[in-house]
Symmetry: C2
Subunit: 231 residues, 2 copies
């Protein structure tokens, strides 16, 4: 878990109780992700966390408690990073293709390439039905809000004349679908796309997206000065 090791390195070695908790959560995430809930054993997690089994039971009463704690923890982190990426969505119509492509790369890189993303994909898929509540709230606070936010961002872009979109939320969903289209087959088998693959996938996606949703940029731009002069 990159994020965590960082905070361990920068901060003053998160000593004591708190360090253990984090160490356990990270190890548990790895093992749950690798083995699934029933395949994961507490002993395995304890070893990976360099902690005694009893310590795990002290912090998290039972296996299931630990699991939900891990899932919630990762969901929080994933949402936070995703929203921070959303805030880098381009808002100027110039260089739209390049800006959108760069945004798409940032998005896929953080969504598909890191441990948290992989974990969520696997765990939602394999344990989602067994924990309806847990994943339903995630669905609301995560993908739901992100879809809406991205829709609003496309709306902003559309109002500036850079795009011609009827249904903003739909456009957002299609954008997301397109930028992951070429990467699914890679991530499905646990692989991590290379930077080139990310780049090419994003570029292809954005080109198609823009062809589908391009406003008459030429017209709008060339007519705008006239209108400005008249008014």
């Amino acid at each position: 878990m990159k994020d965590r090791e960082q905070s361990k390195a920068t901060g003053h070695t998160q000593r004591g109780q708190r360090a253990k908790r984090i160490s356990i959560l990270d190890a548990a995430a790895q093992v749950f992700c690798r083995e699934g809930f029933s395949g994961a054993s507490i002993d395995e997690i304890a070893v990976e966390a360099s902690v005694s089994r009893q310590t795990i039971y002290n912090h998290y009463r039972e296996k299931e408690t630990l699991f939900t704690a891990v899932v919630e923890d990762i969901m929080d982190r994933a949402n936070a990073t995703l929203f921070s990426i959303l805030s880098t969505f381009p808002d100027k119509p110039d260089h739209l293709e390049d800006d959108l492509t760069a945004f798409a790369i940032r998005f896929t890189k953080n969504c598909l390439c890191n441990q948290d993303g992989k974990f969520l994909r696997k765990l939602v898929q394999s344990e989602g039905e067994r924990y309806p509540h847990l994943f339903a709230t995630w669905r609301q606070h995560g993908p739901g809000k992100i879809g809406a936010a991205l829709g609003a961002l496309f709306a902003r872009l559309s109002h500036k004349g850079a795009l011609k979109i009827d249904d903003f939320d739909l456009a957002a969903r299609q954008f997301l679908a397109l930028i992951t289209a070429d990467l699914q087959m890679i991530t499905l088998f646990g692989g991590t796309p290379t930077d080139e693959e990310l780049e090419r996938a994003a570029r292809n996606a954005v080109q198609t997206f823009l062809r589908a949703y391009a406003g008459q940029i030429g017209e709008t731009v060339s007519r705008a000065p006239e209108l400005a002069i008249i008014s």
Copy 2:
């Protein structure tokens, strides 16, 4: 497993050994899909198949053998139905939007809505890394070939002037990504999209796809008569 019940109903009740094998495979698919490999117990499968545990061990030496047999069985079936759907891909430029939409509905319905599709999504995701060989061959014979075949079909359509496509395989992948865009959130949690949802998702996807890849249909169509008269 719908397909199987059918063959049981039509055929002469597949008696004896063969009937048991099928019954076991179907039950195992259900349980593996619900519980994952390590969560599934042979006893559970035996009960669901109305068969004694020993019979399972007679047919499939051990749990792992059973698992791979189930996976291979389902992959074969899924590939077969998918290719049969591919053969219904539209080849006339008229009514392209409607024809493509109908095709998309057929595709998603058989890909996302039936048991086999759900099984493959879950199992590839959760056990893919543990059985690299098993799933690598599927990847070749399944998605790989289907992507290529769909690319060729788009090429045919493109050569007839109905579409303007540079990279046919890319267009195929983007088509697939678009038609599943709105359904992912539903299927991810084990749900099955309604017919309305399928219809709307397909229509939205095809509209966007055509906007991105439409040849100058208006031009082509209106100019064609002139050319015909001259020649």
